[in-house]
Structures are given as structure tokens and as C-alpha cells.
Amino acid sequence: MGRLRHAISIIVLVALSTLGLRALFSVILALPRAASAEAGPIDTLFNAHFWMIAFLFAFIMVMMLYSVFVFRRKPGDETDGPHVHGNTRLEIGWTIIPTVVVLGFGVWGAITLNAITSPKAGEMVVHVTGKQWAWTFDYPEQGDISSGDLVLPVGRTIVLKMNAEDVLHSFWVPEFRVKQDLVPDRETTLRITPTEIGDYMLRCAEICGLNHTLMEAKVRVVDAAGFQAWVDEKSAAPAFADMTPEERGAFWHSAEGFSCFGCHSLDGSPSVGPTWQGLYGRQEQLADGSTITVDDQYIINSILHPADQVVAGFQPNLMPPDYADKIAAREQEIQAAEGIDIDITADLIAFIKTLQ
């Protein structure tokens, strides 16, 4: 009789609390807007998990608080509780039932995973490169254009083929839900199918050193026509021969060039490396105590042998020592494509001189 009353109260309380908690969750534990096809099945799974969390939390807390308040010791009562050691049926039950439930969730998870990772028709490949602390995107199917923003056509499944140059990074746009690390020397892939036109932010989700916080890139999802227009504009772009050295210097500083911006600001704001604003002709104190004036020689040396002359207050060995090779390779590439000789370091110096 007493048992029945307890059972009914518990059932009612648990049901109410579960519903209440689930409602509360949709306020305080809300997901960001969903903007990819992958987000659909993932959010369904989220929803199921939230229901389970609500129920389990409600169930155990109701039982606990019920025991605390309903069965608590009455004043003057000095006796012990009933001598109950266990109940095999109950114990088997609360082992088997959760097992079935979690395995069910496992199966569901596996099915969802398969759905969001399997190849789709009409995929488009984009190469993603992450390095401390900048992103570059290359579009092999669009004539190898290269960009610092990720621009994607809506409704098409994009296969991101990703690579890191130095340390681990991670690709995450919360609205797309999925995430994948970038590993040096190893290609990782991620599939996303943007479904909502709009602007998003890609932010590196794996700690990658000093400026991990700042490792971001703009993501723009546009319609097919807009994408084509963007591709056209991009591929029309640099015939290096037509650009002034200053323009080329600005280009090398950007993500399509060598991503110098990851460490060197142009507006005087502090970063990992010295700002380029007012750099040319500046007096710099070096870590070894000597003072130099920034001139062509110093800039060239700092690009090719970054560990040589470190400015006081900056960490040595942050700047990769392989720019000499990268620059030479790029110069050769341009020589092959356009038949002109470009001096990239000279371009950069010309650009820096404009930043007084």
C-alpha cells in the first residue's frame, strides 16, 4: 500500500522533472544555428541524448531527494533502517537495461556517423592548410585558386582535404557541427554540405601554441552563381607581371602568399612577431643586446635566417626557417608560368616601406 503510493509519487515526479529539465535545456543548453546537411542527423542525436540526460538526472535526483525528505529520521526516532542487503533481480535489471540503452545509442551513433562521412554525388574538393596561425584554402577543381577565406557553394558536398604544416590544428565551424584535426604530413578529410547561405567563422579548435586563440578564417557560403563569380574574380587575379612590387608584397603577406599576417600585423598591434608598421628604418634592440636599424639587409636576413637576429622580447625559433626554400619554389613557379623573374623578398621590402 505504502509502496504503491511511493511508486506513484516517484513516477509523477520523475515525469514532471524530465519534461521540465528538457524544456530548461532548450534554453540553457542550446545549439547554434544548423547550417549544414550533416547537422541534421547530428542534432537529432543530440536531442535524444538531451532527453536521456534529462531523464537519468531527474530519475536519480528524484529518488535521492525523495529518500532524503520522505524517509528521513523523525524526531526522537533512534532506530536503524530496514536490514536489506540487496535484491538480485533488481541488480540484474539495472545492469542489463543500461547496457541495452547504451548499446542502442552506439548503434545509432554508428549509423549517423556513416551517413555523414560516406561519399556523396557531386562532391567538390577543397584543400585546407593550417599553420601557426593562419588558414589557406586551395581549390584544385577551380584551376588551383588559393584563398584566405573559405568560400563555398551552397548545397554541394565539400570534401575538405586537410594538412598541417607544423603542429596539430583543428577545423571547426560550429554551425556545421563537424570537426576534424589537421595533422602534419598526413591528409585528413572532412565532409560538409553547407545548406544555409551566410557568413560563418572557422576557428582552430586544437591548441597550437601562442596564438591559437587568433587562428580564424572567414567562411562564406554563397549560391552557385555567386561562387562562380568569386572563382572568376580569383582566377582573373594576379598576373604578377602586371602588379607593382608593393602590390605583390601585400599579396605575399596575405594567406594566398606566405601568410605572414599570422605573426606580423600591419597596424602596430602586438603579435608574435614585430609589427610591420613603421618597421623600415626603425631602431630595434636585439636579444643579444645590440641595436640595429632595419634596412634591406636586415629584412632579407630575418626572412631567410629568422633565428639570427631576434628582436628583444620576441621568442626565438617561432618563425619557420624554411622560407628560403618556399620563396625560391614560388619564384620558379612564376618563372615557369609567366616567364618573368620575381624577387619576392624585394617585393616584401617594397611593401614594408609603404607602411610608415
Partner: protein
């Protein structure tokens, strides 16, 4: 006053620190000198010298403190009887600053150092929480922020390992009726070796910090600032403490139980300690390998992880998580043991399903070994591994669930006091907090949802809840509950309740807040976030909650420190517990049980009139040979 100072200045602690400083200097000078001899110039911190100096420094500490003295004497064939009590002519309190072999002293040494570094780690958290209270950079640089959260993580974990050491050392010999641990000198070693380890980690902050978080992933670890090396070595040395301590405990439980105490008649906490020790004994070695490899790659140039030489950065993650997942159960199992231990006492009912609860600890430990790659779902590891690890991860929920259901069944129809004392409050709080921590685990364990949640603040919320619920709350419960046992006095009940009622709600705000911002896109390990995420308000709440938690912990420290003198003497058995340690005076005598006991009944027979758990062993049953 002067005498006190002299005693402290000549204590093992101070001698050890001096030894460590000397050793470090010596090692540094040796390697730097060798290099100078070859005519190479060095920067002002030369890393190989620092690494070598750090290792010699640890040995210097152990020699200086005198931890190794007895063993060195054995090696040359000298007998060294175990010293008991304070060294001649020194006051009782000086034992806590010196190498002492009594498990209760060592337990308290662990406990105090654990609280101390909990405070340091907490202050770090508060410092970087102030930075995060608002978007935009407030007062830290990126590099300071990175060092602070990395140090916070590892220091808190060291604090937990210390707290586990405290509970296990103090309680297990008492509970099984042993006079001490099986290897008292090894026990002292386990504690003392963790002191130079902690100093190494703090030294890592002093020489400029590091920025990899507590996980130290390659290849970032190979280019992180120089503090990295001290962090890696410090973490590595802590491992010695874990391995030695756990082997000691396992042997103690295996060979020194009181007569009649079969495995299923041990107090339940002992089961938890055994399960946790099994993990520590084995898994620690693999993280040791990972850390050694990282140091070797940084310092000597061996190649394991850097792909430019053919290495594999993901290998580091496998080795690391093979330890660091199971170790989260080291953090919680003793805490869950405390919950299982206290509930029957307060509910005046037997522990429901004792055997199944005991075995669930082993179950958690064993399944815990099979799930490590759930931290790596997005890492780019072999695709074929993802789904199997998802299933194994989901299965850990089962033995953990057994514990929850048994706790509920234990207090169902139990007679919990209507005005719960502080330890009970903390136990009930722990259940609620660990529950939310636990149930936010499977959502991380299913891969599709983890793809969103990984490296977001949801994870931060999840693990603060599990660690607070599984360790911090139960540890505080244990501190209050066994306080009379340790000191002979009662803590201040009103301050204890104040502590609880400040900390519980503040914790909920902090942890739910973290989960909430994580879902919305807040990444881990960032010093600044985009105001466009719309989370400024929640972040401020989290910071405020952190401050409240901080204050509440300070209240507890005050309570524990001053109750020792100002509170009334405690009754022998204030909780009317049936556990053996409460049947002897408080504080427990040097050798625990002057008359050995034998076990004649079940440990939790509350509610059964004239049931007995233990009684004085008949003299004939005393093992001879003494």
C-alpha cells in the same frame, strides 16, 4: 620561536629543497660545462642542461631529505630498524615536515600538500577566469594565459593524485586492521618523490611556462617554450609516486588483512582503492614512455613524433590517453568509495548490493582500459578504430550506473538525519554533481555528437563535473567525516554547512555555464572569444561562480586549521559507524590496534540487532614471530 624555526630549517622538507637546488645546479653546470668545453655558445637557458639538472635535482632532493638513507644502508649491509614517532628531542608536529614512516602521518602529509596545490591550481584558475570574464583581452597575454591553464590542469591533477594518496594511505591500513602499510619506507618515498615533482612543474612556470595544456601533444610539445621540459619531467616523476604507492597498497591489502576479513568483507572503500591502484600500477608506465619520448625528442633529438623524420604525432596521443583515460577513474574511484562508505552509516542501512558495488569498481577499472581513443575521435587516427572505441566507451556507463542505483537503493527507506551533517551534505552533493558529469559523458562518447563537442567548453564542463563530483566533493566529505579521527576534535559544523551551501550552487553555475558556452561554440584553451557568440554574460557568471568556490574552499581551510584548537574534543565514534577505525581512540594510536581484531560478520549490518563486524582477536590467533 627560534627553536621552531630551527626545527623547520633542519627538516627533511627544507633539506630536500636545498638538495634539489644543489643537484639541479650541479647537473646544469655539468652539461653546460661539457658544452662550453667544446666551445659552443649557449643561450641563457640551455635546455639539455636544464633537463639533466632537473633529474639530478630530484635525486638531490631525495638524498637531501633522507628518503633513500635506509636503502643505501641496506646496500652496504647495515641493518636499519624502522624509526617510529618523532626523532629524539623533536616535537610531535615536526614529524609532518620530516620523513616519517607511519601511514597516518604520510596520509596527512599527502592531504595537506594536496590542499596546498589545490589552492595554487585554484588561484591560477581564478587568474585566467578573470581574463575570460569578458570578451577582449583584459590583462593577460596569450602566452601567460596558455601557461596558466596548462599549469592549472596539471596542478589540479597532481592535487587529485595527492588527495587520493591521502585517503588511501590514511584509511586502508586502519580499515583492514593493519599496523601500517606493507613497505613503510616505500610509502615515504612515494610521498616525498612527489614534492620535487611538484617543484619541477612550478619551476616550469618560472622559466617561462609552456603552452600545450596538460596533455602535451606532439608536435607542439617539440616547439613549445622551455618550461615544457620541466613540465614533462615533473609529470614523469609524479609517475614514480603513483607506481610505488599503488604497488604498496595492493600488497598491503593482499597480505595484511585482519583475520577473517575475506575480500567481500572488506569495507567498500578498500575495494575502490584496490581498483584505483591496479590502474595506477600499470597505466602510469605508458604515459611515462610518452613523456620520456617527448623529452628525448626535444632534448637529444631522437625522433618519434615529428613527421619530418618519419615520426607519428598520433602515437603520442595513443600512449598518453592509454594512461590518462584510465587515470580519470583513479580520480573518482576512491571518491565513489567514500560515498559508498558513508551512505550506509548515515542511512543506518546496509550497503545495497555490496558485492556488485565492489565488483563494479573493478569493472570500471577494466573497461576503462579499453576506451582511451574516445579522446581522439577527431584526431585523424585510423578510421577503423573509431566505432569500436565508441562502443567500449558507452559500456563504462554500466558499472558506473550500478553504483548510482545501489546508492539510491541504500538510502531508500533509510533513516538519513533530518539535519544532515556536513559530510552527508557533501556526499549528497557529490552524487548530484557526479551524476551530471557522468551523464554528459555518453554524449561525448557517441562520435557524431563528439565531432561538435570535442575541444569545446562542453568537455570542460563535463570533466569539472566528474572531477568535482567524483573527487572534490567526496574528498571534502572525507575530510570532514574523518576529521575527528585525525585530530580528535570536531570541525565547526556551521562553517562546514556554509562551505557546502556556497560551493554547491556556485559549482552548478560554473559547470552548466561551461557546458552552455561550449555548445554555442566556445573553444577550449583560448584567451579571448568573439563577442558575436553572445556568451559574455554566461562567462561572467562562470567567473563569479569560480570566485565563490574559491572563497568557500578558503572557509574550509580555515575550519580545518582552527577547529583543531578551538573545537570540543570529539566522541570516539561520532557517526555511530561500524567500521573498525572508529572502534579505537582518536587520533588513532601509533600502531592502530593494540589488540588485533578479527572479522566475524558483514561490514554494513546496520539495522540488524546485535550483529557484529569485528571483535578482539583471541590472543592465540595473534600471529607469532613478533
Amino acid at each position: 620561536m627560534f627553536k621552531t624555526l630551527r626545527i623547520i630549517l633542519t627538516s627533511a622538507l627544507v633539506r630536500g629543497i636545498v638538495g634539489q637546488a644543489l643537484g639541479t645546479a650541479l647537473g646544469y653546470a655539468f652539461v653546460a660545462g661539457l658544452r662550453a668545453l667544446r666551445g659552443a655558445e649557449t643561450g641563457w637557458i640551455y635546455e639539455p642542461a636544464l633537463a639533466f639538472g632537473a633529474i639530478i635535482g630530484v635525486i638531490g632532493f631525495l638524498l637531501g631529505a633522507g628518503v633513500l638513507t635506509d636503502w643505501l644502508k641496506w646496500a652496504i649491509g647495515r641493518q636499519t630498524p624502522l624509526r617510529h614517532g618523532a626523532p629524539a628531542g623533536r616535537p610531535e608536529w615536526s614529524r609532518y615536515f620530516n620523513v616519517d614512516y607511519n601511514h597516518k602521518v604520510i596520509g596527512i602529509q599527502y592531504g595537506i600538500s594536496s590542499l596546498l596545490i589545490l589552492l595554487i591550481g585554484g588561484v591560477f584558475a581564478i587568474l585566467f577566469r578573470l581574463e575570460l570574464a569578458h570578451s577582449g583581452m583584459q590583462w593577460l597575454t596569450n602566452s601567460q594565459y596558455n601557461t596558466l591553464f596548462s599549469a592549472h590542469g596539471i596542478i589540479m591533477i597532481a592535487a587529485i593524485l595527492g588527495g587520493v594518496g591521502a585517503m588511501v594511505n590514511y584509511l586502508v591500513p586502519l580499515m583492514i586492521g593493519a599496523a601500517d602499510m606493507a613497505f613503510p619506507r616505500l610509502n615515504a618515498f612515494s610521498f616525498w618523490v612527489s614534492v620535487p615533482a611538484a617543484l619541477l612543474i612550478l619551476g616550469g612556470i618560472a622559466v617561462g611556462g609552456w603552452d600545450t595544456g596538460w596533455v602535451g601533444y606532439a608536435t607542439l610539445s617539440l616547439r613549445a617554450p622551455v618550461g615544457m621540459v620541466l613540465f614533462l619531467l615533473g609529470f614523469w616523476v609524479v609517475g614514480f609516486s603513483s607506481i610505488a604507492g599503488s604497488a604498496n597498497l595492493l600488497v598491503t591489502v593482499a597480505t595484511m588483512r585482519a583475520k577473517g576479513m575475506s575480500l567481500f568483507r572488506m569495507p567498500i572503500f578498500v575495494w575502490a582503492a584496490v581498483a584505483a591502484s591496479l590502474i595506477q600500477l600499470t597505466a602510469t608506465q605508458t604515459v611515462g614512455v610518452a613523456l620520456t619520448m617527448s623529452v628525448a625528442e626535444r632534448v637529444i633529438g631522437l625522433n618519434f613524433f615529428d613527421p619530418t623524420g618519419g615520426g607519428n604525432p598520433i602515437l603520442y596521443q595513443h600512449l598518453f590517453w592509454f594512461y590518462s583515460h584510465p587515470v580519470v577513474y583513479v580520480f573518482v574511484l576512491p571518491g565513489l568509495g567514500v560515498i559508498s562508505e558513508l551512505l550506509p552509516v548515515f542511512a543506518r542501512k546496509p550497503l545495497f548490493g555490496y558485492r556488485w558495488v565492489a565488483l563494479s569498481s573493478l569493472g570500471i577499472a577494466l573497461v576503462g582500459f579499453l576506451v582511451w581513443a574516445h579522446h581522439m575521435f577527431t584526431s585523424g587516427m585510423a578510421d577503423a578504430l573509431r566505432v569500436p572505441f565508441m562502443f567500449s566507451t558507452m559500456l563504462v556507463a554500466v558499472p558506473t550506473g550500478v553504483k548510482f542505483f545501489s546508492w539510491i537503493a541504500t538510502i531508500w527507506e533509510g533513516k538519513l538525519p533530518s539535519n544532515p551533517p556536513t559530510p552527508l551534505l557533501f556526499v549528497l552533493g557529490a552524487i548530484s554533481v557526479f551524476l551530471i558529469g557522468g551523464v554528459t559523458g555518453p554524449i561525448l562518447g557517441t562520435i557524431p555528437t563528439d565531432l561538435h563537442l570535442h575541444d569545446s567548453y562542453w568537455v570542460v564542463g563535463h570533466f569539472h563535473a566528474t572531477m568535482f563530483g567524483g573527487f572534490i566533493f567526496p574528498f571534502f566529505a572525507a575530510l570532514y567525516y574523518w576529521y575527528p579521527k585525525m585530530t580528535g576534535r570536531m570541525y565547526n559544523e556551521r562553517l562546514g554547512k556554509l562551505h557546502f551551501w556556497l560551493m554547491l550552487p556556485a559549482f552548478w553555475v560554473m559547470s552548466i555555464g561551461q557546458m552552455s558556452v561550449g555548445l554555442l561554440g566556445m573553444r577550449r584553451r583560448i584567451a579571448d572569444y568573439d563577442p558575436a557568440l553572445g556568451i559574455d554574460g554566461t562567462q561572467l557568471l562562470i567567473t563569479l561562480a569560480a570566485l565563490v568556490i574559491g572563497w568557500s574552499v578558503l572557509i574550509m581551510i580555515y575550519n580545518l586549521a582552527f577547529s583543531q584548537r578551538m573545537q570540543p574534543v570529539a566522541e570516539t565514534n561520532p557517526w555511530r559507524s561500524r567500521s573498525p577505525e572508529w572502534q579505537i581512540p582518536s587520533p588513532a594510536p601509533e600502531f592502530n590496534y593494540d589488540v588485533p581484531f578479527e572479522v566475524v560478520g558483514e561490514p554494513y549490518d546496520y539495522g540488524l540487532a546485535d550483529a557484529t563486524y569485528i571483535r578482539d582477536a583471541t590472543p592465540a590467533a595473534v600471529p607469532s614471530g613478533d
